[in-house]
Amino acid sequence: MIETFYDVLRRQGITRRSFLKFCSLTATSLGLGAAAAPRIAHALESKPRTPVVWLHGLECTCCTESFIRSAHPLTKDVILSMLSLDYDDTLMAAAGHQAEAILKEVKEKYKGQYILAVEGNPPLNEDGMYCFQGGRPFVEKLKEMAADCKAIIAWGSCASWGCVQAAKPNPTRATPVHKVITDKPVIKVPGCPPIPEVMTAVVTYMLSFERMPTLDRMGRPAMFYGQRIHDKCYRRPHFDAGQFAETWDDEGARKGYCLYKMGCKGPTTYNACSTVRWNEGVSFPIQSGHGCIGCSEDGFWDKGSFYSRVTDIKQFGIEANADKVGATAAAVVGAGIAAHAAVTALARARNKTGIDVKQGEQ
């Protein structure tokens, strides 16, 4: 008999009531409406379980930390039961050779069916020696497991973009997953870490519907990364009114004015923080008085100050922002024009006399 998700959950001691609650919760968090709940339940009851293998490369485990704090305890229990069964360095019970054997087993038994969730990324310098697991470079393990998977979920900004370990000059050449594995679909769930509810919803969606969520241009699930923090920020009326905190402790900061001038990256960051929020919906950075640092955007670690909107651009080999480069160029042009005008005036004065002589000759 093939095992379904439901079988597994029951075996883990989860009641049917809890299971159904979980299904409706997931349906709402995916924005699918009440009608989708029975569909999710049906899928989980009847379809054979899709195994998930969770690998860890160069990372800080903040994605896992976030994941296991998913708002509803139920969600956490259910999802963890679904996942930890197979392979996850942090959560599984197995260790050593036993653990590595599981990888092999999944790869053979579920060829082309399992989902590969990757937290962190492989460093490529020195043949990948900067991240070594089970006696071999992580990049080898990643490539091997990716070869037979159905799809890859790239957890967090590490797997999606490279994150801080890829900051210039990137000594280990930490490389995001989609640049190493090019022949499999990669679903990016960026953030440092990503929001737990977003993570669980993405997994559940893929497991129960057996298809990829709709992705945006950058390969992120559109349902959670389709809007900017700025689009749904509760401080937005202050932005439009031109009311900004100018320093961290001024009147504006106390009144909860917009943090744009303090460098908030909300206007350029696609994530769900301003809607889903963090820690069971308690708050999110802007609500706590600090601007968004754009942690789910590519290169946020290398794009200059977190505390300025006009940030440094490195294309010029020096640390300078558009205003510094531009104002310098404009000043040079202005000085050039002034000098040119002066020389022109002189030359004209001299020429005038020349013309007079010529005319005198005629």
Partner: protein
């Protein structure tokens, strides 16, 4: 289009009218509307990145940043639609209207005229040449800094605009790719768009200076030409 030809045209026509009709009305109108739009864009754009001092009071009674952005977007539409209109005029207008879009880069003689003008600006020759349309150096600069620059500002600007309209909006579909080309983080796009403002400013500085200087120095009218359409030759 070249100096000799222009001089010939000037001479032939000048005998009768001492002036040549160069810039047709739509082009002149466009020039000044465009100049105004760019001025508004640069000022409002500057304050989008570095907003004015904070206001106090009830936010529902103010809309300062909103108005600044609205002005920017309104001027942006004027600028972009005007540019499309200008392209149309390049097709149906006289041959001077095509100059800022098409450079005769294969014409050696044209290049020598560019260098002649360069020498004139570097005080290496005493007499400027006369041109009915743009002088070749001006033509080159206008192409590089204005025509290319305008396309650049329109693409980067509407890519940012598409972010506000939302994923899937027309602006996102038509121009959103530009953000992906720059790596996907639109902070980069903001910086590049802002840099474009400074490049535009540098062009305007040189352009206005050159227009005034040549008006005085080159024995032919310039500024009044962009108003009336007629190029006067002063000797």
């Amino acid at each position: 289009m070249l100096a000799e030809q222009d001089a010939f045209e000037a001479e032939r026509n000048a005998r009768m009218v001492k002036a040549v009709y160069v810039y047709e009305a739509p082009l002149r109108l466009w020039h000044w509307v465009n100049a105004l739009a760019i001025t508004v864009l640069a000022i409002t754009g500057y304050f989008i990145g570095k907003p004015l001092p904070s206001l106090s009071g009830d936010p529902s009674e103010q809309y300062l940043m909103g108005w600044i952005r609205f002005l920017h977007f309104a001027a942006a539409y004027v600028f972009a639609i005007g540019f499309i209109g200008r392209i149309y005029w390049a097709i149906v207008g006289n041959h001077h209207a095509r100059q800022i879009f098409l450079l005769p880069i294969l014409n050696r003689h044209w290049w020598s005229e560019v260098f002649y003008e360069l020498k004139w600006y570097l005080f290496m020759v005493k007499e400027p040449k006369k041109y009915v349309g743009h002088n070749p150096l001006a033509q080159l600069m206008m192409f590089l800094f204005f025509t290319v620059g305008a396309v650049y500002m329109i693409i980067t600007g509407f890519a940012l605009y598409g972010e506000g309209l939302g994923v899937g909006s027309w602006a996102d579909q038509m121009f959103g790719w530009a953000i992906a080309v720059l790596g996907g983080n639109s902070m980069q796009m903001h910086s590049m768009h802002r840099l474009g403002m400074w490049v535009t400013l540098c062009f305007v500085l040189v352009h206005v200076y050159a227009a005034i200087r040549e008006d005085i120095m080159s024995r032919q009218s310039l500024i009044s030409t962009m108003i009336s359409g007629w190029r006067m030759f002063k000797d």
